[in-house]
């Protein structure tokens, strides 16, 4: 929307931060500077207000510890050379970029004969393994807003990680059949009394690494089986039975779970138990379950990888066809074992978030980063290519945590000479094909 001179208002902007993909952000620009934001959470405000800061001014190539500015074409050529010469390249990241970028990335992995993995591997990878074993009963966030009268957050603290989840979808929105907070019951199960737990009607403080035990006891309780232990996972059995009664007695319940389940002891077994609990609950009432996805397009990364290769993450294309073996073809395992000999990182920062062994091996091989902003990985990269920020300076598609696609808008121009991840990846793919043809 164009207003008075120099003033521009972009409405219904989708926030490219977390899996909520809030699509009601209103951004006001005055002469290319954001002067006002409406409907943004604290993190979204930081995202929009600081998007121009901490940017790499131009593509960089690092030689003997010194980085030099190069043209985009030179950076693409060097990237392609590294990838073509690699025996087992790893292409990793993809959860904070568009579906279109990942589509090109998969084509590139196929062309190179490498492994392509997204950050699911270190967040809800165990969730996918659990779903593949058990199946899931799920729904959209819209259905939750209109119908859910019981909401459980398990191992998840949305007040901090998905700040508008409670107000837009679960606790206080005005839904068709649930008009206000009083129409909903909130249960929080966590190892700490988190900010989310403080809003709960019922808080269960489970002992660390004991979620599987509590899930198993709950499954028994909802089937009216006798729990022999007096206390399970730090919770008295009477409290577990009361919680089971609460779960059974709702009309439409939903469990949102976070990394408290996937990262704790048991990992995918915890998820299998949670999915099984929901399956059992559906014999008594209507119940759903949904992972709280973190990066704004990690769900899209799974969708695109699945429809392109048949598998949601950790796809090995070295044999000329896709194969998938979590624990072997997952990025962190490959890095831990020091198997890959070149890494392309797109919109991710393993130097900041991967454990030490993986980082130590990463530092032994050539690393290429494609990222709009400075990441710690970009500081050590052999080639660092800056791009336009998707959702602010470039458009693209992303999937909300419940599998609903949203179009991320371009609301302003990128710095001069910057193009989108999609364009850069297309250039690399073209150059890789050229270099392979020549070799």
């Amino acid at each position: 929307m164009e207003c008075e001179k120099g003033l521009k208002v972009s409405e219904d902007v989708v926030c490219p931060f977390c899996g909520c993909l809030c699509d009601d952000i209103k951004v006001t620009f005055q002469d290319d500077e954001i002067t006002r934001l409406a409907n943004s959470c604290a993190i979204s405000i930081a995202k929009f207000q600081h998007y121009k800061e901490d940017r790499i001014p131009s593509p960089l190539i690092r030689e003997n510890g010194q980085s030099s500015s190069v043209s985009l074409e030179e950076a693409v050529k060097e990237t392609s050379k590294i990838l073509v010469n690699a025996r087992y390249p790893l292409l990793y990241g993809w959860s904070s970029t568009s579906c279109e970028a990942l589509k090109v990335g998969i084509e590139l992995a196929e062309e190179l004969g490498g492994v392509i993995d997204n950050t699911t591997t270190t967040c809800h990878g165990p969730t996918i393994l659990g779903v593949q074993d058990v199946g899931e009963s799920t729904c959209t966030l819209g259905e939750v807003k209109h119908r859910a009268d019981l909401v459980v957050y398990w191992g998840s603290n949305p007040v901090h990680a998905h700040p508008r989840h409670l107000t837009r979808y679960t606790l206080t929105p005005k839904g068709k059949f649930r008009a206000a907070r009083k129409d909903r019951v909130l249960v929080v199960i966590d190892v700490r009394k988190t900010s989310t737990a403080r809003q709960a009607d019922c808080f269960i403080q489970v002992e660390p690494n004991k979620d599987y035990e509590l899930l198993s006891a709950l499954r028994m309780a909802i089937k009216f089986e006798e729990i022999e232990q007096v206390i399970v996972a730090g919770i008295p059995k009477e409290q577990i039975e009361e919680l089971a009664d609460l779960l059974i007695s709702c009309q439409f319940g939903v469990i949102f779970f976070g990394l408290g389940l996937t990262m704790s002891s048991g990992k995918e077994r915890n998820i299998e138990a949670a999915l099984s609990l929901v399956r059992d609950l559906n014999r008594k009432t209507k119940f759903n379950i949904m992972p709280m996805r973190g990066h704004f397009n990690v769900t899209g990364a799974n969708k695109v990888t699945t429809w392109q290769t048949g598998f949601p993450y950790a796809v090995d294309l070295t044999k000329g066809y896709p194969s998938y073996n979590p624990g072997a073809t997952t990025a962190l395992d490959i890095l831990n074992r020091g198997e890959c000999d070149a890494v392309l990182i797109v919109a991710s920062d393993p130097l900041a978030h991967a454990p030490k062994t993986a980082v130590q091996n990463l530092l032994k091989i050539p690393v290429i980063t494609i990222d709009p902003r400075i990441s710690l990985t970009s500081l050590i990269a052999k080639v660092a290519i800056p791009t336009a920020l998707v959702g602010i300076e470039a458009e693209g598609v992303a999937y909300r945590m419940d599998g609903i696609p949203k179009i991320l808008k371009k609301i302003t121009n990128p710095p001069a000479g910057f193009v989108s991840d999609v364009e850069v990846l297309k250039m690399i793919l073209k150059e890789v094909r050229k270099q392979k043809g020549a070799s």
Binding site: D117, H160, T194, A352, L379
Partner: protein, 128 residues
């Protein structure tokens, strides 16, 4: 003192990383350890001073702060970020997922040791 270590997101960590990975705000939001008030007393740690956290994977010095989400005696919390990552368990148990919650750790006062900036941390931990 033996404790259980968990990591996770916080509002400050989310804001800090959007402000910039090399910013002081990022370091101030993630190079911290939330400690239960009871444990702070037991360990005689003055909130705001350095603490050293050690796991099987290594040690890191961060700022010890009073937990905003107590009570959780015997449990400490560090937000996701490079400080926490250096002491995480890299093994994935065949799932692809490292163990970043529920780790056994040791915490001790380290008021004489500084909390390193990001570039110093990378130098100390990885030599880069």
């Amino acid at each position: 003192m033996r404790v259980t270590l968990i990591t996770g997101r916080t509002l400050g960590q989310g804001q800090g990383k959007e402000i910039g990975k090399t910013s002081e705000r990022y370091r101030d939001s993630v190079a911290v350890c939330e400690i239960d008030p009871e444990d702070l007393e037991k360990l005689q740690i003055e909130p705001g001073t350095s603490v050293k956290i050690t796991t099987d994977s290594g040690s890191v010095v961060v700022k010890g702060v009073k937990s905003t989400q107590p009570p959780h005696p015997g449990l400490i919390f560090i937000p996701y970020g490079p400080w926490a990552s250096t002491i995480m368990e890299p093994k994935t148990d065949g799932t692809g997922m490292p163990s970043m919650k529920g780790l056994k750790a040791n915490i001790e006062p380290a008021s004489d040791q500084p909390v390193l900036g990001i570039r110093q941390l990378l130098k100390e931990q990885y030599g880069v």
